[in-house]
């Protein structure tokens, strides 16, 4: 099962380190990362594999959100299907 993590906000040192540290601790494998600056906002999109997730999804989601708050960014994790259903037929 795959999910998409989005990080939106102001660029700073340690974003990827902070996020990937949480992912490693929860046995989440990173499949792809892309980052861009859209309309002056730093945007990072990560595709991750959560099939070996060692904690509840809700807990991972909370940990990422808290990390986001700590770094002044918005961090969200959502099942990949929501994007696929909207953008792929």
């Amino acid at each position: 099962m795959r999910a998409v993590i989005t990080v939106i906000g102001k660029d700073k040192i340690g974003i990827i380190a902070g996020i990937s540290n949480i992912l490693a601790n929860c046995s989440v494998n990173i499949l792809d990362i892309s980052q861009t600056t859209m309309q002056d906002v730093f945007t990072m999109v990560m595709l991750v594999d959560i099939s070996k997730l060692s904690v509840q999804f809700a807990e991972l989601s909370e940990q990422l959100e808290n990390k986001g708050v700590e770094m002044g960014l918005s961090v969200k994790i959502q099942h990949e299907d929501i994007f696929n259903s909207m953008h792929r037929i």
Partner: protein, 452 residues
């Protein structure tokens, strides 16, 4: 692989443009809960609802968390209670409403619909008792919603029921006078009612429906408006295409959530209702979409055409995105629940007469209209008769949800709170319709050929 801009588009829709799943509604058949003992019947009703819907709220919240899409309401619709309670010898059905209210509380949903009767051609004993119980039932419960279908294209308009509902609405307003007539906000009078509508207050579980079913209502007026902002000044083909594409995307999300909810609950998937349902939040208004098309204020000349285009394009885009579409499907125009509509009424741009014209081309009817407290029962009946006629003649659903707010006059504003919003009191035509309404009987079903 998904492109970052696509992911950002979805996130922007949810975070900035108020895209949400408006409701997951579980339809539950109560046909096996009838009993000659009213007490036993109510026990069966309570047990069945709390058993089948036990996990509804939790599943909704789980999906919300995992997919990152807000699911605003979790609700229940049941078989019209007139059909279930009729076998008992009880004279007053208020206790049935109280049972529904308790069951809704127990499973944590915010509304339960189905304190309803279908009387387009006439009343049964149970229908009469249920309708007489509506004012007390709605003012003594919090979560129960009621609806009455009193006209259809096949049956015509039951004018006895039209007359009675005027009085019922007045009485419901009177009994909930302390809350501005709030009970009336939970009562819808229909023509050609859909039996699988997930939206309140008109939801009930139709007699042709399965044992238990999941219906989902999507929303997203804000998303449509911001899509249209990007094509300012373009011609109507472009406007229509833009709405279709947006409706498609919104509905795909609804379809995903509906499938997932029905899978997790082990209940069959019913329909996705493709409605653009506004809320009082700024940026979640259907009126503002119409204004984005180039109207200075919703309600001015051109509004009906703009709404017709919007409604049709939403259906065209949405139908392609879901395996099964139903319910009311279209644009809602509830005055008190739409910031743009409220503003248009306040500025004098939008009147009841224009709203009536708008209901000819959109999915519902005169919805959440507050009128002066001294409006007569006959005038309310006549408003219902007009709306029913539009529905019956045009083969479409129409409805009236009207609140004669006790003690209020034109220019006052009545606060209902939450999703129900606040309604400016609108002017009604003060000439009498009394002798017309008091005739009673039935307006026959219309001819369906020679259409002009």
């Amino acid at each position: 692989m998904l492109m970052p801009f696509e992911i950002i588009e979805t996130i922007k829709m949810i975070q900035e443009e108020n895209l949400d799943i408006r409701t997951i509604t579980m339809g539950i058949s109560l046909r096996d809960c009838a009993s000659s003992s009213a007490k036993e019947s109510r026990e069966k009703i309570y047990n069945k609802i709390t058993r089948l819907a036990a996990n509804l709220v939790k599943v909704g919240e789980d999906i919300e968390k995992e997919y990152g899409i807000p699911i605003v309401n979790k609700r229940i619709s049941v078989t019209p209670i007139s059909l279930v309670a009729e076998s008992s010898d009880e004279e007053n059905y208020v206790k049935f409403a109280e049972t529904l209210d308790r069951a809704a509380d127990a499973v944590g949903v915010n509304f339960i619909g189905g304190f309803s009767a279908l009387i387009q051609k006439g009343y049964t004993v149970g229908d009469r008792k249920l309708i007489a119980s509506i004012p007390e039932a709605l003012s003594s419960t919090k979560k129960v919603c009621s609806s009455v279908n009193l006209a259809s294209t096949k049956a015509g308009i039951n004018m006895d029921a039209v007359r009675e509902m005027g009085h019922i609405i007045k009485k419901a307003a009177h009994l909930s006078a302390d809350n501005g007539g709030l009970a009336c906000a939970k009562l819808v009078v229909f023509a050609n009612v859909p039996e699988d509508n997930p939206f309140m207050a008109g939801a009930f579980h139709g007699v042709g429906e399965p044992e238990c079913v999941i219906n989902v209502g999507v929303s997203g007026p804000g998303v449509v408006k911001s899509a249209l902002e990007k094509v300012r000044g373009a011609d109507f083909e472009t406007v229509s295409e833009t709405i279709k594409k947006t409706a498609f995307k919104i509905t795909r999300m609804g379809q995903l959530v509906a499938r997932e909810a029905s899978r997790r609950l082990g209940v069959s998937f019913g329909i996705v209702d493709l409605s653009l349902a506004p809320t009082p939040t700024i940026g979640d208004s259907v009126a503002h979409i119409l204004e984005e098309m180039g109207l200075e204020k919703c309600g001015t000349h051109g509004t009906t055409a703009a709404l017709a285009l919007l409604n049709d394009a939403v259906k065209k885009g949405g139908t392609m995105a879901s395996s099964s579409v139903g319910g009311l499907s279209g644009a809602f125009i509830p005055v008190s629940e739409d910031a743009g509509m409220i503003d248009a009424v306040m500025k004098g741009a939008l009147t009841i007469e224009k709203l009536e014209a708008m209901t000819c081309v959109c999915s519902v009817g005169l919805d959440m209209i507050v009128v002066p407290g001294d409006t007569s029962a006959e005038t309310i009946s006549a408003i219902i008769a007009d709306e029913s006629a539009i529905g019956v003649i045009n083969n479409k659903t129409t409805a009236v949800r009207i609140i004669p707010a006790p003690g209020k006059k034109v220019g006052d504003v009545v606060e209902f709170g939450g999703l129900l919003g606040s309604g400016p009191v609108m002017k009604v035509n003060n000439f009498s319709s009394k002798d017309f309404i008091n005739r009673g009987g039935r307006i026959p079903a219309p001819l369906n050929s020679l259409r002009n």
